[in-house]
């Protein structure tokens, strides 16, 4: 079967100063699929995720070797416009981090900084994004309240809506449910299911059930290396490696 890759990572090495955090990661992400990154704490999942939208560039003293391509183009090429790249790759963080602005302003922010001026268009997109983020019904009467007045789960869905507003092609999520209760988590998982049709999703999670529920492909990281990756069903039922099986079944250590 011919596969269409949105993002490909080839022999990616990553260093924080002299500490090597990622070692020769080669992993491909298929268009309109959700990939789960799993592995024990400190194994480099977040580091890898943040390589994909060059968020690590902000940290002084880092070094990247190897290549990551999006639509076949190396995103670490000097000629790449990082600002443009980041508007094509949305990111949702572990802790909800809405700006201290109104709900409306939070969602409109990405549009405004990308040069959208038309008020009607902005209002339209804000509504659409909040609907996609499964938050519209809860906030439609209080769009001009502070985003900080929302509950944690609502804030996280707001952050998802905020990311969707700029219509990215890829959505990166770093443990998006770790600060949420089971009901909010379920809402977000349903959301991920729906979003898969339009976006390529990469999600870091510590929750094996969650990985099994939302992802098509699962990649297992351990100590900065990619140990095994494959179809989620296969990974969870018949992993090739003993390490993977131990981790997934919770017999790790």
């Amino acid at each position: 079967m011919e596969q269409e890759y949105k993002i490909t990572s080839k022999n990616l090495d990553f260093y924080y100063g002299s500490v090597k955090a990622l070692q020769s990661i080669s992993l491909n992400f298929q268009l309109h699929q959700a990939t789960a990154l799993i592995g024990p704490s400190g194994c480099g999942k977040s580091t890898f995720l943040r390589c994909l939208n060059r968020m690590n560039d902000l940290i002084p003293g880092i070094r990247v070797e190897g290549e990551i391509c999006m639509d076949g183009e190396n995103i670490y090429k000097p000629s790449v416009d990082v600002v443009r790249l980041r508007s094509r790759i949305g990111m949702v963080f572990q802790k909800p981090n809405p700006f201290p602005k109104t709900i409306f302003e939070n969602v409109a922010y990405g549009l405004k900084v990308n040069g959208v001026k038309d008020k009607n268009l902005i209002a339209e997109r804000v509504e659409k994004s909040l609907r996609s983020g499964a938050l519209w019904d809860e906030v439609k009467d209080r769009l001009h309240d502070s985003a900080l007045s929302l509950s944690g789960g609502q804030q996280q869905r707001l952050c998802i809506a905020r990311a969707l507003a700029v219509e990215p092609e890829v959505l990166l999520m770093d443990e998006p449910c770790s600060a949420l209760d089971p009901i909010a988590t379920q809402k977000i998982e349903e959301l991920i299911h729906e979003l898969k049709d339009k976006y390529t999703i990469i999600i870091v999670t510590h929750n094996m059930q969650q990985a099994a529920r939302v992802s098509d492909v699962t990649a297992f990281f351990y100590m900065g290396k990619l140990i095994e990756a494959g179809e989620t069903d296969t990974m969870f039922t018949r992993p090739r490696l003993k390490t993977t099986e131990d981790y997934i079944t919770g017999r790790f250590g």
Binding site: N53, M55, L58, P60, V83, R84, R86, S87, R88, I89, G90, M91, F93, K95, N97, P98, F99, P100, K101, T102, Y109, G110, K112, V113, N114, H144, D145, S146, L148, S149, C159, R162, A163, V166
Partner: protein
């Protein structure tokens, strides 16, 4: 059960000693804090008690008369006000932009270290040296003469380190997650700074700015060579005019002339007005900060 066991095995004597040590230390802390508050209270009380009688409508609205033994201090109030506003206009933008550069743009390294060293040394320069610098540079070299402009620039230079410092503090307090969220949405660094980081830091920045200026407002040395005069027949009409100012007026009344004793009440009255202005500015800063913070939480 468990806590009971712990208690019964604990040594009573040791526990008593620990408790006493703790009470003793807390007492020391409390006394230190008390001395602090007491000092302020004593100063304010002293000046209030001595200056209260001098304050009246004439005192606040009239110029000095009879070679400063009577009349009021209106020109001095205006002068100090102008100097403060001038210093604010000069120092606030420069200080805030420097703080933004240092905290958001500058890469850690040699240049940043040198800049920081410069700023902390600037903070340690005695105010009379600022005065002499203002005299040599603004008044004489740039030919501004003894003027509001020269004084405001000198006071501004003096309050720069405070403004830069508080701007840096305020920016540091803005969580990195805001910056990451903004950049992750495709905002440039400049957009991130001006649309997210600076608004979030604004309460702290403004407070620092006002505190910096109010500190400078009471200084005599920086303005005595650059802006203030013994006595001026008219109110200033442009920034190139010389002026009278509260701190310098106190200095003049208290040290020069033959009427030092008879003008005592006037000296205390002037000091009272000066302290009221400075405390007023500080109070404004505090209120402004809490208002802005609240607003930030609500909108």
């Amino acid at each position: 059960m468990k806590s009971y066991a712990v208690e019964s095995t604990g040594n009573n004597y040791i526990r008593l000693r620990k408790k006493l040590t703790q009470s003793f230390c807390f007492m020391l802390f409390r006394i230190s804090a008390l001395i602090n508050g007491l000092a302020l209270a004593v100063i304010v009380y002293f000046i209030l008690a001595n200056g209260w009688k001098a304050i009246n409508w004439t005192f606040l609205t009239q110029p000095p008369m009879d070679s400063m033994t009577k009349g009021g201090i209106f020109p001095c109030i205006i002068g100090t006000l102008f100097l403060c506003i001038g210093a604010m206009v000069v120092a606030f933008p420069i200080g805030v932009f420097s703080g933004i550069y240092i905290n958001e743009y500058a890469k850690p390294g040699r240049i940043l270290r040198i800049i920081r060293l410069g700023i902390s040394n600037l903070a340690g320069v005695p105010s009379v040296v600022f005065g002499l610098f203002g005299l040599a540079f603004f008044v004489i070299y740039l030919k501004m003469g003894v003027s509001i402009l020269a004084g405001a620039l000198t006071l501004g230079a003096m309050s720069l380190p405070v403004i830069i410092g508080s701007t840096e503090e305020a920016l540091k307090a803005v969580p990195d997650t805001y910056r990451e969220a903004s950049l992750g949405l495709g905002a440039t660094k400049l957009q991130t700074i001006f649309r997210v980081v600076v608004p979030a830091a604004m309460p702290g920045i403004l407070t620092g700015g006002i505190l910096g200026i109010s500190r400078a407002a009471g200084e005599t040395a920086p303005i005595m060579f650059t802006a203030a005069v013994f006595s001026s027949p008219k109110l200033p009409e442009s920034v190139f005019d010389e002026i009278m100012a509260l701190p310098y007026h106190i200095y003049v009344l208290a040290t020069a002339g033959t009427e030092i004793e008879t003008t005592r009440p006037l000296q205390y009255g002037t000091a009272l007005v000066l302290i009221a202005m400075v405390l007023g500015m500080n109070l404004t800063a505090i209120i402004l900060r809490s208002r802005l913070r609240k607003k930030m939480r609500q909108i």
